[in-house]
Amino acid sequence: MFKEKLLIGQYYAVASPVHRLDARCKIIVTLIYMITLFIANNWLAWATLAIVFLLALFLSRVPLKSLWRGLKVMAIFCIITVVINIFVYPGEHILWSWRVLSISTEGISHGLAMGLRLLLLVAFASLLTLTTTPLALTDGLEDLMRPLERIHVPAHEIAMMTSIALRFVPTILEEFDHIVLAQKARGAKIGEGKLIQRLMSFIPLMVPLFVAAFRRADDLAQAMEAKCYRGGKGRTRWKVSVWHRYDTLVLAFFILLMAAAIVCRSIM
């Protein structure tokens, strides 16, 4: 059903060195890794980055299967990118050509590199969400955005809204599944017929979904008020994230990796 298809990198609960890392560290590291991917411009660097990713995956104890479930859709996108690049990229050593399309060795190399980079990008990002609870993730984001509060960026509110939105994605998907079944039980033909009919067929799904979402929002607002929620000011956390030396080491490693990629790029 819809639920399993949509959830990219849903938290996978095991104990591992990667899970133990501070969320802030993981967010920064992910950003550095992404930047490094685009700084890198040769196969040696890309291979190193791929090995780093595989190492992180191995350490995280997340089974390949769970990662793959989230990546399936992206993989199709990657394959399309590779194919387009192979045919379109201009090169000198032409292996095959037909009208405007041609395949060159440079094209193949470039296309594969592009695909690999995209795949690593998404895979690394989903590793972040696979190993970090949504709550820790938003707390981390809030901490990282805190300096921006001086220029009146509502860091706490943004983090709170993000975490509420993330929290309700599975709930609402489940509800949607349920509504689909219920309307099918009443003979609804969903997504069939001509365009107008097809659009109209979504009304019996959307109205209950929105009604439920509003009801939920209302309940949540009341529950938060009942617990005296007054925004971020003076609010303490139950689980305070602590930055360990271990986090600094991991961060240092990735900064070095980026530095190496920059050096590598300027040499070659």
């Binding site: 399993e4 009443r186 003979g187 609804a188 019996p204 959307m206 209950p208 009604v211």
Partner: protein, 373 residues
């Protein structure tokens, strides 16, 4: 129409880490006009079975046959109606008419015939059609919303109606109305499959009870047969109806009654006939032998406030033991008083007021405890 479920398995999210078997080798035959209660603990596969019987999910293996056709197609499933749990959460219509007409319209009932269909369905659920026709279903009360939703299934004129916990969230009056409606639908010749948590409801109304545990059918039979299997029910995290516990407890303590009853009414009759077989003095002795006033006294003292904590730590069964004696005595004394009034058994409504008050006024230990788990 006959429903045959033949060695059906159903697996959720097959091939993933969260793979779970919701149904395991389920075989059932359901004849037209049956009144069935489907009971089981949460997650036992009741709802999945309901979805399957309504043609909304297909079995992973095994087969589901409707009547004698071995190829269920959409039009056949039109004769199976499913009232979901909290059905009012699926409402979307701008008026009660639109809401109720949705199903039959989807099934191809011509526009000209729709008003008659809707009117008939609304009458079936005791909603005055003219009053509610144009009203927004979202502005109705909880009970009225539930009625509209049930009407929207009845309007599709199903031969089999499955109710998934239809009484959830209704008040006592609403529950009583619903039971009456379900019985009426059944007496009109429709098959009714009633999914419930409430053993009293199941014992009271169903003629056949199917018990599911972890996706398997563990019991299937008349209420008397099913509730005789106390151990199996206990393993499935279910209790037996209060009335059945009562007569069995009396029998265990030496009362000369069959101990077969599963409904309040039958329990009452058993107790009554047990007492009527004796004169007043013998009754006094008999009751005293089974629940002596000494025992009552010691029970009262053991239930004083300082022992409240101790009571909480008791298991369901121990709590039941403690509370039963007192309730038994009240009930039996009540029954005796009625028995003295005259040789004729009391009228139905009298039975209810007499018997239900001691039962419903005190918390029912077994159920209260189980729900919290």
């Amino acid at each position: 129409m006959r429903l045959i479920i033949d060695h059906v398995n159903y697996i959720y999210e097959e091939g993933t880490i969260t793979e779970t078997a919701a149904l395991h080798d389920v075989s059932l035959t359901i004849e037209q006009g049956e009144m069935i209660a489907l009971i089981g603990h949460g997650g036992s596969g009741k709802s999945t079975l309901a979805l399957m019987m309504a043609g909304l999910v297909s079995p992973t293996s095994g087969s589901l046959l409707l009547s004698n056709h071995d190829r269920p197609d959409a039009s056949l499933f039109h004769s199976v109606g499913l009232v979901f749990q909290y059905p009012e959460q699926q409402m979307f219509g701008q008026s009660v008419f639109e809401e109720v007409a949705f199903g039959p319209r989807n099934y191809g009932v011509p526009e000209d015939y729709l008003p008659a269909r809707v009117r008939q369905a609304l009458e079936e659920v005791d909603l005055p059609a003219d009053e509610f026709w144009h009203r927004s279903p979202f502005l109705l009360s909880g009970g009225q919303k539930r009625r509209v939703c049930i009407a929207s299934v009845i309007a599709m004129n199903p031969r089999v109606i499955i109710f998934d916990e239809p009484s959830a969230g209704l008040d006592e009056a609403g529950k009583a109305w619903l039971s009456a409606l379900i019985r009426r639908l059944n007496s009109e010749g429709r098959t009714v499959i009633w999914i419930t948590h409430n053993m009293e409801e199941a014992a009271e109304h169903a003629r056949r009870i199917i018990v599911l545990e972890h996706g398997k059918v563990v019991l299937d039979g008349t209420p008397q047969q099913v509730f005789a299997e106390e151990d199996v029910l206990r393993r499935a995290n279910l209790t037996i109806p209060y009335a059945a516990r009562l007569v069995r407890e009396l029998k265990r303590r030496g009362a000369d009654l069959p101990g077969q009853a599963v409904t309040v009414e039958h329990a009452y009759r058993e107790i009554l006939s047990w007492l009527q077989r004796r004169d007043a003095a013998a009754q006094e002795m008999e009751i005293d032998k089974i629940i002596s006033s000494d025992e009552m006294e010691s029970l009262r003292s053991s239930l004083r406030p300082e022992s409240v904590d101790a009571e909480e730590s008791l298991s369901d069964d121990e709590q039941w033991e403690r509370r039963t004696a007192e309730e038994l005595r009240t009930l039996v004394l009540n029954a005796r008083e009625t028995a003295f009034v005259g040789p004729n058994p009391p009228a139905e409504d009298q039975i209810r007021t007499d018997v239900e008050s001691p039962l419903s006024s005190s918390p029912q230990p077994a159920q209260g405890g189980k729900e919290d788990v």
